[in-house]
Protein backbone atom coordinates (compact mmCIF):
# COMPACT_ATOMS: atom_id res chain seq x y z
CA UNK A 1 0.00 0.00 0.00
CA UNK A 2 2.62 2.48 1.15
CA UNK A 3 4.89 1.06 -1.50
CA UNK A 4 2.38 1.67 -4.27
CA UNK A 5 1.85 5.19 -3.04
CA UNK A 6 5.61 5.76 -3.05
CA UNK A 7 5.78 4.51 -6.62
CA UNK A 8 3.04 6.88 -7.63
CA UNK A 9 4.83 9.75 -5.95
CA UNK A 10 8.10 8.93 -7.70
CA UNK A 11 6.31 8.73 -11.06
CA UNK A 12 4.67 12.11 -10.43
CA UNK A 13 8.01 13.69 -9.49
CA UNK A 14 9.61 12.19 -12.60
CA UNK A 15 6.93 13.62 -14.87
CA UNK A 16 7.26 17.06 -13.30
CA UNK A 17 11.06 16.86 -13.57
CA UNK A 18 10.81 15.96 -17.25
CA UNK A 19 8.35 18.75 -18.04
CA UNK A 20 10.04 21.35 -15.86
CA UNK A 21 12.32 22.93 -18.50
CA UNK A 22 9.32 23.43 -20.76
CA UNK A 23 7.33 25.17 -18.05
CA UNK A 24 9.95 27.29 -16.34
CA UNK A 25 11.43 30.56 -17.41
CA UNK A 26 14.94 30.27 -18.85
CA UNK A 27 16.45 31.78 -15.71
CA UNK A 28 14.96 29.10 -13.48
CA UNK A 29 16.06 26.34 -15.83
CA UNK A 30 19.53 27.80 -15.42
CA UNK A 31 19.16 27.59 -11.64
CA UNK A 32 18.08 23.97 -11.99
CA UNK A 33 21.20 23.21 -14.02
CA UNK A 34 23.30 24.57 -11.18
CA UNK A 35 21.33 22.49 -8.71
CA UNK A 36 22.38 19.42 -10.71
CA UNK A 37 26.01 20.52 -10.94
CA UNK A 38 26.25 21.30 -7.23
CA UNK A 39 24.43 18.07 -6.50
CA UNK A 40 27.09 15.98 -8.23
CA UNK A 41 29.86 17.66 -6.25
CA UNK A 42 27.78 17.55 -3.06
CA UNK A 43 27.14 13.84 -3.50
CA UNK A 44 30.86 13.20 -3.02
CA UNK A 45 30.83 15.22 0.19
CA UNK A 46 27.69 13.35 1.25
CA UNK A 47 29.43 9.99 0.91
CA UNK A 48 32.28 11.19 3.12
CA UNK A 49 30.01 12.78 5.71
CA UNK A 50 27.10 10.38 5.80
CA UNK A 51 28.94 7.10 5.46
CA UNK A 52 32.40 7.80 6.90
CA UNK A 53 31.65 10.70 9.26
CA UNK A 54 34.28 12.86 7.56
CA UNK A 55 33.62 16.60 7.17
CA UNK A 56 35.19 17.74 3.91
CA UNK A 57 35.73 21.47 3.48
CA UNK A 58 37.91 21.16 0.40
CA UNK A 59 35.57 20.00 -2.35
CA UNK A 60 35.82 23.29 -4.25
CA UNK A 61 39.48 22.43 -4.87
CA UNK A 62 38.56 19.35 -6.90
CA UNK A 63 35.67 21.21 -8.52
CA UNK A 64 38.30 23.74 -9.61
CA UNK A 65 40.70 21.10 -10.90
CA UNK A 66 37.94 19.68 -13.09
CA UNK A 67 36.89 23.09 -14.36
CA UNK A 68 40.43 24.28 -15.13
CA UNK A 69 41.41 20.99 -16.75
CA UNK A 70 38.47 21.32 -19.11
CA UNK A 71 39.13 25.00 -19.73
CA UNK A 72 42.87 24.62 -20.25
CA UNK A 73 42.78 21.52 -22.42
CA UNK A 74 39.91 22.77 -24.58
CA UNK A 75 40.79 26.44 -24.93
CA UNK A 76 44.57 26.64 -24.58
CA UNK A 77 45.49 23.28 -26.10
CA UNK A 78 42.45 22.93 -28.37
CA UNK A 79 41.69 19.34 -27.39
CA UNK A 80 38.29 17.68 -27.42
CA UNK A 81 36.18 18.17 -24.24
CA UNK A 82 36.35 14.50 -23.30
CA UNK A 83 40.08 14.88 -22.66
CA UNK A 84 39.46 17.75 -20.27
CA UNK A 85 36.87 15.76 -18.33
CA UNK A 86 38.99 12.62 -18.14
CA UNK A 87 42.26 14.39 -17.36
CA UNK A 88 40.52 16.46 -14.69
CA UNK A 89 39.04 13.37 -13.07
CA UNK A 90 42.32 11.46 -13.23
CA UNK A 91 44.30 14.40 -11.87
CA UNK A 92 41.79 14.90 -9.05
CA UNK A 93 41.92 11.21 -8.20
CA UNK A 94 45.71 11.30 -8.10
CA UNK A 95 45.87 14.45 -5.99
CA UNK A 96 43.15 13.16 -3.67
CA UNK A 97 45.13 9.98 -3.20
CA UNK A 98 48.41 11.81 -2.51
CA UNK A 99 46.74 14.18 -0.04
CA UNK A 100 44.25 11.71 1.35
CA UNK A 101 46.67 8.94 2.23
CA UNK A 102 48.48 11.02 4.89
CA UNK A 103 45.63 13.21 6.13
CA UNK A 104 43.04 10.46 6.48
CA UNK A 105 45.00 9.19 9.46
CA UNK A 106 43.57 12.26 11.21
CA UNK A 107 40.04 12.22 12.58
CA UNK A 108 37.27 14.60 13.58
CA UNK A 109 38.07 18.28 13.87
CA UNK A 110 41.65 17.79 12.79
CA UNK A 111 40.76 16.10 9.54
CA UNK A 112 38.06 18.65 8.79
CA UNK A 113 40.42 21.56 9.32
CA UNK A 114 43.06 19.82 7.21
CA UNK A 115 40.57 19.62 4.33
CA UNK A 116 39.72 23.28 4.91
CA UNK A 117 43.42 24.15 4.70
CA UNK A 118 43.70 22.16 1.46
CA UNK A 119 40.70 24.00 0.05
CA UNK A 120 42.36 27.31 0.91
CA UNK A 121 45.71 26.26 -0.54
CA UNK A 122 43.88 25.24 -3.71
CA UNK A 123 42.13 28.59 -3.92
CA UNK A 124 45.42 30.44 -3.56
CA UNK A 125 47.14 28.28 -6.18
CA UNK A 126 44.32 28.90 -8.68
CA UNK A 127 44.87 32.60 -8.09
CA UNK A 128 48.68 32.59 -8.17
CA UNK A 129 49.13 30.27 -11.16
CA UNK A 130 47.52 32.68 -13.57
CA UNK A 131 49.58 31.32 -16.48
CA UNK A 132 47.42 28.21 -16.14
CA UNK A 133 44.13 29.51 -14.81
CA UNK A 134 43.98 33.06 -16.05
CA UNK A 135 43.77 34.25 -12.40
CA UNK A 136 40.98 36.73 -11.76
CA UNK A 137 40.53 37.27 -15.50
CA UNK A 138 39.74 33.60 -15.91
CA UNK A 139 39.49 31.57 -19.09
CA UNK A 140 36.67 32.28 -21.52
CA UNK A 141 35.48 30.71 -24.75
CA UNK A 142 35.14 27.19 -23.42
CA UNK A 143 33.12 25.21 -26.01
CA UNK A 144 29.73 23.79 -25.10
CA UNK A 145 29.41 20.02 -25.10
CA UNK A 146 27.78 17.96 -27.76
CA UNK A 147 26.51 14.44 -27.40
CA UNK A 148 26.55 12.33 -30.58
CA UNK A 149 26.34 15.49 -32.63
CA UNK A 150 23.58 16.96 -30.49
CA UNK A 151 24.63 20.38 -29.21
CA UNK A 152 24.02 20.88 -25.48
CA UNK A 153 23.93 24.62 -25.95
CA UNK A 154 20.75 25.68 -24.18
CA UNK A 155 19.89 25.50 -20.46
CA UNK A 156 17.00 23.14 -21.32
CA UNK A 157 19.24 20.63 -23.02
CA UNK A 158 21.91 20.90 -20.40
CA UNK A 159 19.30 20.41 -17.67
CA UNK A 160 18.45 16.94 -18.96
CA UNK A 161 22.10 16.09 -19.47
CA UNK A 162 23.31 17.18 -16.00
CA UNK A 163 20.39 15.69 -14.12
CA UNK A 164 20.79 12.40 -15.94
CA UNK A 165 24.42 12.29 -14.81
CA UNK A 166 23.44 13.34 -11.28
CA UNK A 167 20.82 10.59 -11.04
CA UNK A 168 23.19 7.95 -12.38
CA UNK A 169 25.79 9.08 -9.84
CA UNK A 170 23.21 8.79 -7.07
CA UNK A 171 22.23 5.34 -8.25
CA UNK A 172 25.87 4.24 -8.21
CA UNK A 173 26.30 5.71 -4.74
CA UNK A 174 23.16 3.97 -3.60
CA UNK A 175 24.62 0.65 -4.74
CA UNK A 176 27.82 1.47 -2.95
CA UNK A 177 26.29 2.34 0.41
CA UNK A 178 23.96 -0.63 0.45
CA UNK A 179 26.71 -3.04 -0.59
CA UNK A 180 29.70 -4.55 1.15
CA UNK A 181 31.80 -1.37 1.10
CA UNK A 182 28.89 0.70 2.42
CA UNK A 183 28.33 -1.65 5.35
CA UNK A 184 32.03 -1.44 6.17
CA UNK A 185 31.98 2.36 5.93
CA UNK A 186 29.05 2.70 8.30
CA UNK A 187 30.57 0.12 10.61
CA UNK A 188 33.80 2.07 10.91
CA UNK A 189 31.88 5.27 11.52
CA UNK A 190 29.80 3.68 14.31
CA UNK A 191 32.45 1.65 16.14
CA UNK A 192 35.96 1.86 14.68
CA UNK A 193 37.58 -0.74 16.98
CA UNK A 194 34.93 -3.34 16.18
CA UNK A 195 35.19 -2.66 12.45
CA UNK A 196 38.95 -3.02 12.65
CA UNK A 197 38.58 -6.28 14.56
CA UNK A 198 36.41 -7.55 11.70
CA UNK A 199 39.28 -6.90 9.25
CA UNK A 200 37.97 -3.65 7.75
CA UNK A 201 40.98 -1.78 6.36
CA UNK A 202 39.69 1.58 7.48
CA UNK A 203 42.45 3.73 6.11
CA UNK A 204 42.31 2.22 2.63
CA UNK A 205 38.52 2.45 2.56
CA UNK A 206 38.50 6.09 3.63
CA UNK A 207 41.11 6.88 1.00
CA UNK A 208 39.01 5.22 -1.72
CA UNK A 209 35.93 7.23 -0.76
CA UNK A 210 38.00 10.42 -0.58
CA UNK A 211 39.23 9.74 -4.13
CA UNK A 212 35.69 9.01 -5.28
CA UNK A 213 34.51 12.26 -3.72
CA UNK A 214 37.25 14.15 -5.56
CA UNK A 215 36.32 12.54 -8.89
CA UNK A 216 32.68 13.59 -8.44
CA UNK A 217 33.84 17.12 -7.60
CA UNK A 218 36.04 17.23 -10.66
CA UNK A 219 33.31 15.93 -12.93
CA UNK A 220 30.93 18.60 -11.64
CA UNK A 221 33.64 21.21 -12.24
CA UNK A 222 34.21 20.09 -15.84
CA UNK A 223 30.48 20.12 -16.53
CA UNK A 224 30.26 23.58 -14.98
CA UNK A 225 33.05 24.88 -17.22
CA UNK A 226 31.35 23.62 -20.38
CA UNK A 227 28.04 25.09 -19.29
CA UNK A 228 29.22 28.51 -18.16
CA UNK A 229 31.86 28.58 -20.98
CA UNK A 230 33.91 30.78 -18.66
CA UNK A 231 35.76 30.00 -15.41
CA UNK A 232 37.58 32.20 -12.91
CA UNK A 233 38.89 31.93 -9.35
CA UNK A 234 35.69 33.28 -7.78
CA UNK A 235 33.98 29.94 -8.40
CA UNK A 236 36.42 27.85 -6.37
CA UNK A 237 36.62 29.52 -2.98
CA UNK A 238 36.11 28.05 0.46
CA UNK A 239 32.56 29.47 0.40
CA UNK A 240 31.83 27.12 -2.48
CA UNK A 241 33.17 24.21 -0.45
CA UNK A 242 30.84 25.18 2.36
CA UNK A 243 27.92 25.21 -0.06
CA UNK A 244 28.84 21.69 -1.21
CA UNK A 245 29.01 20.60 2.41
CA UNK A 246 25.61 22.17 3.04
CA UNK A 247 23.98 19.82 0.54
CA UNK A 248 24.29 16.68 2.70
CA UNK A 249 23.88 18.65 5.93
CA UNK A 250 20.60 20.20 4.85
CA UNK A 251 19.25 17.01 3.41
CA UNK A 252 20.45 14.63 6.10
CA UNK A 253 23.74 13.00 5.25
CA UNK A 254 22.71 9.39 5.70
CA UNK A 255 20.58 9.28 2.56
CA UNK A 256 22.19 9.58 -0.87
CA UNK A 257 18.80 10.36 -2.45
CA UNK A 258 18.51 13.25 0.00
CA UNK A 259 21.27 15.05 -1.88
CA UNK A 260 18.60 15.94 -4.45
CA UNK A 261 16.77 17.94 -1.80
CA UNK A 262 20.01 19.46 -0.57
CA UNK A 263 21.06 20.42 -4.08
CA UNK A 264 17.69 22.04 -4.82
CA UNK A 265 17.94 23.94 -1.54
CA UNK A 266 21.40 25.40 -2.12
CA UNK A 267 20.54 26.39 -5.67
CA UNK A 268 17.03 27.73 -5.08
CA UNK A 269 17.30 29.35 -1.64
CA UNK A 270 19.67 32.13 -2.78
CA UNK A 271 17.35 32.78 -5.74
CA UNK A 272 14.29 33.07 -3.55
CA UNK A 273 16.18 35.22 -1.07
CA UNK A 274 17.99 37.36 -3.63
CA UNK A 275 15.35 40.06 -3.37
CA UNK A 276 16.90 40.81 0.00
CA UNK A 277 20.24 41.77 -1.51
CA UNK A 278 23.36 40.89 0.45
CA UNK A 279 21.22 39.87 3.43
CA UNK A 280 20.33 36.64 1.67
CA UNK A 281 23.74 35.23 2.51
CA UNK A 282 23.12 35.85 6.20
CA UNK A 283 19.85 33.96 6.00
CA UNK A 284 21.59 31.20 4.09
CA UNK A 285 24.18 30.86 6.85
CA UNK A 286 21.47 30.96 9.50
CA UNK A 287 19.63 28.19 7.69
CA UNK A 288 22.72 26.02 7.98
CA UNK A 289 23.15 26.85 11.66
CA UNK A 290 19.50 26.19 12.43
CA UNK A 291 19.47 22.88 10.59
CA UNK A 292 22.57 21.73 12.48
CA UNK A 293 21.11 22.88 15.80
CA UNK A 294 17.52 21.73 15.39
CA UNK A 295 17.47 18.97 12.78
CA UNK A 296 20.29 16.52 13.44
CA UNK A 297 19.10 14.35 10.57
CA UNK A 298 18.46 17.18 8.15
CA UNK A 299 15.23 17.90 6.32
CA UNK A 300 14.86 14.21 5.53
CA UNK A 301 14.60 13.56 9.26
CA UNK A 302 12.00 16.29 9.78
CA UNK A 303 8.85 14.13 9.45
CA UNK A 304 10.22 11.67 12.00
CA UNK A 305 11.04 14.50 14.40
CA UNK A 306 7.58 16.02 14.03
CA UNK A 307 5.97 12.61 14.57
CA UNK A 308 8.03 12.07 17.69
CA UNK A 309 7.09 15.42 19.13
CA UNK A 310 3.42 15.71 18.24
CA UNK A 311 2.16 12.47 16.86
CA UNK A 312 1.57 8.91 17.99
Amino acid sequence: MAFARNKLLIAAVAVVALLLPLLLQRHYVDVMVFAGLYGIAGLGVALLLGQCGIVSLGQAFFYGIGAYSSAYLCVTLGLSPIFGIVVGAALSALIAFIIGWPILRLTGFFLALATLAIGMIGGILFYEWDWLTGGTLGIGGIPTLSLFGFELNTPQRYYYFVWAIFLVAIWLSHNLVTGRAGLAMRAMRDAPPAAEALAVDMHALKTKIFVLCAVLGSLAGSLFAHYATYVSVQSFTVERSIIFLLIPVIAGAASVWGTIIGALFVALAPELLSGLGDAHQVLFGLALVLVVTLLPEGIVGLPKLVMKRFGA
Binding site: T178, A191, A195, A199, L212
Partner: protein, 262 residues
Protein backbone atom coordinates in the same frame (compact mmCIF):
# COMPACT_ATOMS: atom_id res chain seq x y z
CA UNK B 1 60.86 -22.04 35.80
CA UNK B 2 57.58 -21.18 34.14
CA UNK B 3 54.62 -23.40 34.92
CA UNK B 4 54.37 -26.27 32.49
CA UNK B 5 51.79 -25.38 29.88
CA UNK B 6 49.33 -28.03 28.71
CA UNK B 7 51.19 -28.47 25.46
CA UNK B 8 51.95 -32.11 26.23
CA UNK B 9 48.72 -33.04 24.46
CA UNK B 10 49.04 -33.72 20.79
CA UNK B 11 46.35 -31.19 19.94
CA UNK B 12 47.46 -28.39 17.65
CA UNK B 13 47.93 -25.07 19.41
CA UNK B 14 45.81 -22.30 17.91
CA UNK B 15 47.20 -19.74 20.33
CA UNK B 16 50.64 -20.01 21.83
CA UNK B 17 51.92 -17.14 23.95
CA UNK B 18 55.57 -17.60 24.86
CA UNK B 19 57.60 -15.55 27.28
CA UNK B 20 55.65 -12.33 26.83
CA UNK B 21 56.83 -9.42 28.94
CA UNK B 22 55.66 -5.82 28.94
CA UNK B 23 56.14 -2.68 30.95
CA UNK B 24 54.61 0.79 31.04
CA UNK B 25 57.37 3.22 31.88
CA UNK B 26 59.06 1.69 34.90
CA UNK B 27 56.09 -0.46 35.83
CA UNK B 28 56.36 -4.15 34.93
CA UNK B 29 52.90 -5.37 34.03
CA UNK B 30 53.69 -8.74 32.46
CA UNK B 31 56.64 -11.01 33.01
CA UNK B 32 57.43 -14.23 31.16
CA UNK B 33 53.81 -15.12 30.49
CA UNK B 34 53.10 -18.43 28.74
CA UNK B 35 49.59 -19.38 27.70
CA UNK B 36 48.51 -22.06 25.27
CA UNK B 37 45.13 -22.73 23.70
CA UNK B 38 44.72 -26.02 21.82
CA UNK B 39 42.26 -26.28 18.97
CA UNK B 40 38.55 -26.21 19.85
CA UNK B 41 39.21 -25.72 23.54
CA UNK B 42 37.87 -23.05 25.84
CA UNK B 43 40.74 -21.46 27.73
CA UNK B 44 40.15 -19.07 30.58
CA UNK B 45 42.25 -16.20 31.84
CA UNK B 46 41.41 -14.82 35.24
CA UNK B 47 43.11 -12.50 37.64
CA UNK B 48 42.25 -9.62 39.95
CA UNK B 49 42.21 -6.03 38.72
CA UNK B 50 45.71 -4.84 37.89
CA UNK B 51 47.00 -8.35 37.28
CA UNK B 52 47.82 -7.54 33.65
CA UNK B 53 44.82 -9.30 32.07
CA UNK B 54 43.83 -6.39 29.91
CA UNK B 55 47.39 -5.75 28.80
CA UNK B 56 47.83 -9.39 27.83
CA UNK B 57 44.50 -9.31 26.01
CA UNK B 58 45.58 -6.20 24.11
CA UNK B 59 48.89 -7.83 23.21
CA UNK B 60 47.14 -10.89 21.80
CA UNK B 61 44.63 -8.82 19.82
CA UNK B 62 47.30 -6.45 18.55
CA UNK B 63 46.36 -3.18 20.25
CA UNK B 64 49.75 -3.30 22.03
CA UNK B 65 53.05 -4.71 20.79
CA UNK B 66 54.89 -6.64 23.54
CA UNK B 67 58.41 -5.67 24.63
CA UNK B 68 59.50 -9.28 24.27
CA UNK B 69 58.08 -12.74 23.67
CA UNK B 70 56.07 -14.30 20.87
CA UNK B 71 52.36 -14.59 20.19
CA UNK B 72 51.73 -17.41 17.74
CA UNK B 73 48.42 -17.99 16.07
CA UNK B 74 48.24 -21.26 14.17
CA UNK B 75 51.98 -21.64 14.52
CA UNK B 76 52.87 -18.24 13.08
CA UNK B 77 54.26 -15.41 15.20
CA UNK B 78 51.89 -12.45 14.89
CA UNK B 79 53.34 -10.30 17.67
CA UNK B 80 54.24 -7.52 15.22
CA UNK B 81 51.20 -7.87 12.93
CA UNK B 82 48.47 -5.25 12.71
CA UNK B 83 44.98 -5.80 14.07
CA UNK B 84 43.58 -6.29 10.58
CA UNK B 85 46.22 -8.82 9.62
CA UNK B 86 45.37 -10.81 12.71
CA UNK B 87 41.68 -10.66 11.98
CA UNK B 88 42.32 -11.88 8.44
CA UNK B 89 44.22 -14.76 10.04
CA UNK B 90 41.06 -15.73 11.90
CA UNK B 91 41.47 -13.93 15.20
CA UNK B 92 38.41 -12.06 16.47
CA UNK B 93 37.70 -10.22 19.69
CA UNK B 94 34.65 -8.89 21.48
CA UNK B 95 34.56 -5.91 23.79
CA UNK B 96 33.79 -5.41 27.46
CA UNK B 97 30.88 -3.17 26.54
CA UNK B 98 29.46 -4.77 23.41
CA UNK B 99 30.50 -2.70 20.42
CA UNK B 100 27.68 -3.05 17.94
CA UNK B 101 27.19 -0.71 15.00
CA UNK B 102 24.50 1.50 16.48
CA UNK B 103 23.09 3.03 13.30
CA UNK B 104 22.99 -0.25 11.42
CA UNK B 105 20.27 -2.85 11.65
CA UNK B 106 20.79 -6.09 13.54
CA UNK B 107 20.92 -7.93 10.21
CA UNK B 108 23.55 -5.53 8.86
CA UNK B 109 25.56 -5.98 12.04
CA UNK B 110 25.59 -9.72 11.57
CA UNK B 111 26.37 -9.31 7.88
CA UNK B 112 29.50 -7.38 8.88
CA UNK B 113 30.78 -10.61 10.39
CA UNK B 114 31.34 -11.83 6.84
CA UNK B 115 33.53 -8.89 5.88
CA UNK B 116 36.79 -10.82 5.93
CA UNK B 117 35.23 -13.68 3.96
CA UNK B 118 33.86 -11.51 1.15
CA UNK B 119 35.75 -9.53 -1.43
CA UNK B 120 33.57 -7.21 -3.57
CA UNK B 121 35.47 -3.96 -4.13
CA UNK B 122 34.21 -0.40 -4.27
CA UNK B 123 33.83 -0.30 -8.06
CA UNK B 124 32.19 -3.72 -8.36
CA UNK B 125 29.68 -2.69 -5.70
CA UNK B 126 28.98 0.68 -7.31
CA UNK B 127 28.30 -0.76 -10.72
CA UNK B 128 26.26 -3.59 -9.18
CA UNK B 129 28.32 -6.27 -10.91
CA UNK B 130 26.60 -9.66 -10.82
CA UNK B 131 29.38 -11.06 -8.63
CA UNK B 132 28.90 -8.29 -6.06
CA UNK B 133 25.13 -8.73 -6.08
CA UNK B 134 25.40 -12.48 -5.64
CA UNK B 135 27.88 -12.07 -2.82
CA UNK B 136 25.67 -9.56 -1.05
CA UNK B 137 22.60 -11.77 -1.42
CA UNK B 138 24.37 -14.81 -0.01
CA UNK B 139 25.83 -12.72 2.83
CA UNK B 140 22.34 -11.53 3.69
CA UNK B 141 20.84 -15.01 3.54
CA UNK B 142 23.57 -16.47 5.68
CA UNK B 143 23.33 -13.63 8.21
CA UNK B 144 19.59 -14.11 8.43
CA UNK B 145 20.11 -17.78 9.28
CA UNK B 146 22.53 -16.80 12.01
CA UNK B 147 20.00 -14.31 13.35
CA UNK B 148 17.43 -17.08 13.51
CA UNK B 149 19.83 -19.35 15.29
CA UNK B 150 20.61 -16.71 17.89
CA UNK B 151 16.91 -15.91 18.30
CA UNK B 152 17.14 -12.34 17.01
CA UNK B 153 15.53 -12.79 13.61
CA UNK B 154 12.48 -10.79 14.71
CA UNK B 155 14.84 -7.87 15.41
CA UNK B 156 16.65 -8.10 12.05
CA UNK B 157 15.38 -4.71 10.88
CA UNK B 158 15.86 -2.94 14.24
CA UNK B 159 18.74 -0.54 14.71
CA UNK B 160 21.26 -2.17 16.99
CA UNK B 161 21.69 1.03 18.98
CA UNK B 162 18.12 0.74 20.22
CA UNK B 163 18.65 -2.65 21.87
CA UNK B 164 19.24 -3.25 25.61
CA UNK B 165 22.68 -4.41 26.79
CA UNK B 166 21.84 -8.12 26.89
CA UNK B 167 20.65 -8.16 23.29
CA UNK B 168 23.60 -6.12 22.16
CA UNK B 169 25.81 -8.87 23.51
CA UNK B 170 23.79 -11.44 21.57
CA UNK B 171 24.18 -9.37 18.40
CA UNK B 172 27.91 -9.15 18.98
CA UNK B 173 28.11 -12.93 19.47
CA UNK B 174 26.01 -13.59 16.39
CA UNK B 175 28.31 -11.31 14.41
CA UNK B 176 31.31 -13.18 15.78
CA UNK B 177 29.68 -16.48 14.89
CA UNK B 178 29.12 -15.23 11.36
CA UNK B 179 32.83 -14.44 11.11
CA UNK B 180 33.72 -18.07 11.93
CA UNK B 181 36.98 -17.17 13.65
CA UNK B 182 39.67 -19.71 14.45
CA UNK B 183 40.36 -17.95 17.70
CA UNK B 184 37.71 -15.98 19.54
CA UNK B 185 38.79 -13.67 22.34
CA UNK B 186 36.01 -12.74 24.74
CA UNK B 187 36.72 -9.76 26.98
CA UNK B 188 34.55 -9.86 30.12
CA UNK B 189 31.56 -11.13 28.13
CA UNK B 190 29.31 -11.47 31.16
CA UNK B 191 29.60 -7.84 32.27
CA UNK B 192 26.21 -6.20 32.42
CA UNK B 193 24.32 -9.46 31.88
CA UNK B 194 21.69 -10.96 34.18
CA UNK B 195 21.85 -14.51 35.57
CA UNK B 196 19.77 -16.23 32.86
CA UNK B 197 21.60 -14.23 30.20
CA UNK B 198 24.91 -15.54 31.53
CA UNK B 199 23.59 -19.10 31.25
CA UNK B 200 22.74 -18.45 27.60
CA UNK B 201 26.20 -16.97 27.12
CA UNK B 202 27.78 -20.11 28.53
CA UNK B 203 25.80 -22.13 26.01
CA UNK B 204 27.00 -20.02 23.10
CA UNK B 205 30.62 -20.28 24.20
CA UNK B 206 30.27 -24.07 24.08
CA UNK B 207 28.72 -23.84 20.62
CA UNK B 208 31.72 -21.91 19.34
CA UNK B 209 34.11 -24.56 20.70
CA UNK B 210 32.04 -27.45 19.39
CA UNK B 211 32.18 -25.93 15.91
CA UNK B 212 35.96 -25.72 15.90
CA UNK B 213 36.59 -22.23 17.25
CA UNK B 214 39.17 -21.93 20.01
CA UNK B 215 37.97 -19.57 22.72
CA UNK B 216 40.06 -17.46 25.07
CA UNK B 217 37.80 -16.17 27.81
CA UNK B 218 39.07 -13.26 29.88
CA UNK B 219 37.02 -12.48 32.93
CA UNK B 220 37.07 -12.01 36.66
CA UNK B 221 33.73 -13.77 36.89
CA UNK B 222 34.65 -17.09 38.53
CA UNK B 223 31.19 -18.48 37.91
CA UNK B 224 31.60 -18.21 34.16
CA UNK B 225 34.97 -20.00 34.26
CA UNK B 226 33.22 -23.36 34.74
CA UNK B 227 32.79 -23.43 30.99
CA UNK B 228 36.57 -23.56 30.43
CA UNK B 229 38.65 -26.63 29.75
CA UNK B 230 41.73 -24.95 31.18
CA UNK B 231 42.05 -21.82 33.28
CA UNK B 232 45.15 -19.64 33.66
CA UNK B 233 45.45 -17.44 36.72
CA UNK B 234 47.34 -14.20 36.26
CA UNK B 235 48.65 -12.42 39.33
CA UNK B 236 50.89 -9.36 39.27
CA UNK B 237 51.96 -10.05 35.73
CA UNK B 238 52.74 -13.74 36.15
CA UNK B 239 50.79 -16.90 35.51
CA UNK B 240 50.63 -18.52 38.95
CA UNK B 241 48.46 -21.51 38.10
CA UNK B 242 47.17 -23.39 35.07
CA UNK B 243 44.67 -26.22 35.04
CA UNK B 244 41.03 -27.21 35.06
CA UNK B 245 38.75 -25.00 37.14
CA UNK B 246 38.25 -27.65 39.79
CA UNK B 247 41.98 -27.83 40.44
CA UNK B 248 42.34 -24.06 40.34
CA UNK B 249 39.74 -23.67 43.06
CA UNK B 250 41.81 -25.87 45.37
CA UNK B 251 45.15 -24.29 44.56
CA UNK B 252 46.48 -22.62 47.70
CA UNK B 253 48.40 -19.92 45.80
CA UNK B 254 45.28 -18.96 43.91
CA UNK B 255 43.23 -18.92 47.08
CA UNK B 256 45.70 -16.58 48.72
CA UNK B 257 46.09 -14.31 45.73
CA UNK B 258 42.67 -14.13 44.27
CA UNK B 259 39.82 -15.91 45.94
CA UNK B 260 40.79 -14.65 49.33
CA UNK B 261 40.88 -11.12 48.03
CA UNK B 262 37.44 -11.47 46.48
Amino acid sequence: MSPAPVTAKSARLVLDVQGVAHRFGGLRVLEDVNIAAPESQIVGLIGPNGSGKTTLFNIITGFIRPRSGTVSVNGRDVAQDSIQQRSRDGLLRTFQTPKVFDHMTVLENVMMGMHAHTSSGVLATMFAMPSARRELASTRASALQTCERFGIAHLAATRAGELPAGLRRVVELARAHQAKPKLLLLDEPSSGLSGPEIDTLRGWIRVFASEGTTVLLVSHDMGLMDVCDVVNVLYFGRVIATGPMAAIRDDQKVRDAYLGAA
